[in-house]
């Protein structure tokens, strides 16, 4: 089973952490042991899921919006080389802008509701998706494109039949990165100001020095990210059976 080794290492890490907390001399509230976190988890779970719902909503909506805009841009860049030359470098450079530093503006612009969180998620997810699709489309075999030309295919038919399918494996690799970013993006959005969501819950736990609550929220954030990751992996297997058949 392929999950055996990660599980062994995870358990080992948790045991080590537990041991450090018991052996150390610093006060216990500074770093709760995994067992302390596990102890509060059942009691916290209902409220965590209540908050988690909002975080997940912002993450998934932002993620889907990022996918749609990235796909549209990638196709447009493929059809119009001018766009590819003019916009793509700017997209890359835009990644040097730390989102966390401009995110407070979104609160001012878009208020305290769902919208500013979605904007943050879209911004962090957009880049990995657009890069993976663009590179995947460029990697399409030129001979295949030529063959379709000789068959009389139109530009759009070539994109639909060759370039986009060829980009799928790379696209899904990008989606996995973007998917994990999306939950984080939503949490960051909530840190900046919100009434609901795991980000808010974490800020409150932090301010009241209830670190075992903080860690239980972190646990839920990781759980959501892993679930999203698995959902993307599963979708990939459904969409590209040919890709996984080749690997077997």
């Amino acid at each position: 089973m392929k999950y055996r080794y990660p599980l062994i290492f995870l358990v080992g890490f948790l045991l080590l952490w537990e041991a450090v907390v018991y052996i150390n001399t610093f006060p216990d509230w500074l770093l709760p042991a995994p067992s302390d976190v596990a102890a509060v988890l059942p009691e916290m779970l209902p409220i965590l899921l209540e908050h988690g719902q909002y975080t997940l909503l912002a993450a998934v909506v932002g993620f889907l919006l990022a996918i749609v805009t990235a796909l549209i841009l990638a196709v447009l860049m493929d059809v119009f080389p001018v766009l590819r030359q003019g916009i793509y470098p700017l997209v890359v450079v835009s990644q040097t802008i730390p989102i966390i530093s401009v995110a407070p503006l979104f609160i001012i612009w878009f208020g305290y509701g769902l919208l500013p969180k979605i904007v943050v998620v879209v911004l962090v997810c957009f880049f990995p998706v657009v890069v993976s699709v663009t590179q995947g489309m460029e990697a399409a075999e030129q001979d295949m494109v030529n063959l379709l030309r000789v068959m009389g295919a139109s530009t759009w038919q070539i994109i639909k039949e060759v370039r986009l399918p060829a980009a799928l494996p790379s696209f899904f690799a990008g989606l996995k990165i973007a998917g994990t970013y999306s939950i984080m993006g939503a949490v960051i959005g909530e840190w900046l100001g919100s009434s609901k969501g795991l980000g808010v819950f974490m800020t409150r736990a932090m301010h009241s020095y209830q670190f075992e609550r903080l860690f239980s929220a972190i646990f839920v954030v990781s759980l959501l990210s892993v679930l999203l990751f698995l959902a993307i992996e599963l979708t990939g297997r459904l969409v590209m059976p040919w890709h996984y058949k080749k690997e077997e």
Binding site: D143, M144, L147, G152, A153, E161, P241, H243, K245
Partner: protein
């Protein structure tokens, strides 16, 4: 009637540092329903000839006539099978072979129905729903050929279709191609570097020189059809084969 005619076609590739002359005054012609082979050493410009005929590459000088027309819309008359099979990995066999029909606007159900009737002829029955990566080399080649033939164009350009196959599979495929050709009667221009293959299959052979490619010999092959494996050792066959080999060597 002449289906394909090249008149004094020249082509040089421009690379960064220098120019690479690839074709020097290629003239050839293929009649309706004829099977014509081009043989020559690898790198001499055989595939480039096909690329100029399909319009993927523009010749520097010379004329190319398809159905007697210059600058014809080649995609409506020519079906091209490149050296690599280039089956789309994300389409099942059935959807690969009907691709040209779908691009031409034929409905999927109609195209599938037509293709299914031919699966047996192409030895792909039972493999319709497989992906190309699940097929053997010979089957992939047959699928690529089926796609080429199903496009229903008058002219087939086949670029070393059996080049990657082992000798036994290759011989089976040659005999099978002749059968299929007999059934579908198209005009075929066929590239190979195998002299025996050329003699066995064709009505006429053009021998190309080393790069830059020039035509060294135009050889008619007047062996009776249908051809069979016994002919390969016959004296007429051997005579033609020797003549072609000699042209290649000198």
């Amino acid at each position: 009637m002449k289906k394909i005619q090249l008149v004094e076609v020249c082509k040089k590739y421009q690379t960064k540092e220098d120019t690479l002359p690839v074709l020097e005054g290629i003239s050839l012609s293929v009649d309706s329903n004829q099977f014509v082979c081009i043989v020559g050493p690898s790198g001499c410009g055989k595939s480039t000839i096909f690329n100029t005929i399909t319009g993927l590459v523009k010749q520097d000088s010379g004329r190319i006539l398809i159905n007697g027309q210059e600058q014809a819309d080649s995609s409506s008359m020519i079906s091209y099978m490149p050296q690599k099979d280039l089956l789309l990995p994300w389409r099942r066999v059935i959807d690969n072979v009907i691709l040209p029909l779908k691009l031409a606007g034929v409905s999927r159900s109609e195209a599938v129905q037509e293709a299914m009737e031919l699966m047996d002829v192409f030895g792909l029955k039972g493999f319709e729903e497989r992906y190309p990566s699940e097929l053997s080399g010979g089957m992939r080649q047959r699928a690529a050929l089926m796609r080429t033939i199903l496009a229903k164009k008058d002219i087939l350009l086949l670029d070393e279709p059996f080049g990657a196959l082992d000798a036994i599979t290759r011989f089976k495929m040659q005999s099978w191609l002749l059968q299929v050709w007999n059934q579908f009667k198209r005009t075929i221009l066929f590239i190979t570097h195998d002299v025996e293959e050329a003699v066995y299959l064709s009505d006429k052979i053009y021998v190309l020189s080393e790069r830059p490619g020039r035509i060294k010999l135009e050889q008619e092959v007047n062996l009776p059809r249908p051809r069979n494996s016994d002919m390969i050792t016959g004296s007429d066959f051997v005579k033609i084969k020797k003549k072609v080999l000699k042209a290649i060597e000198t």
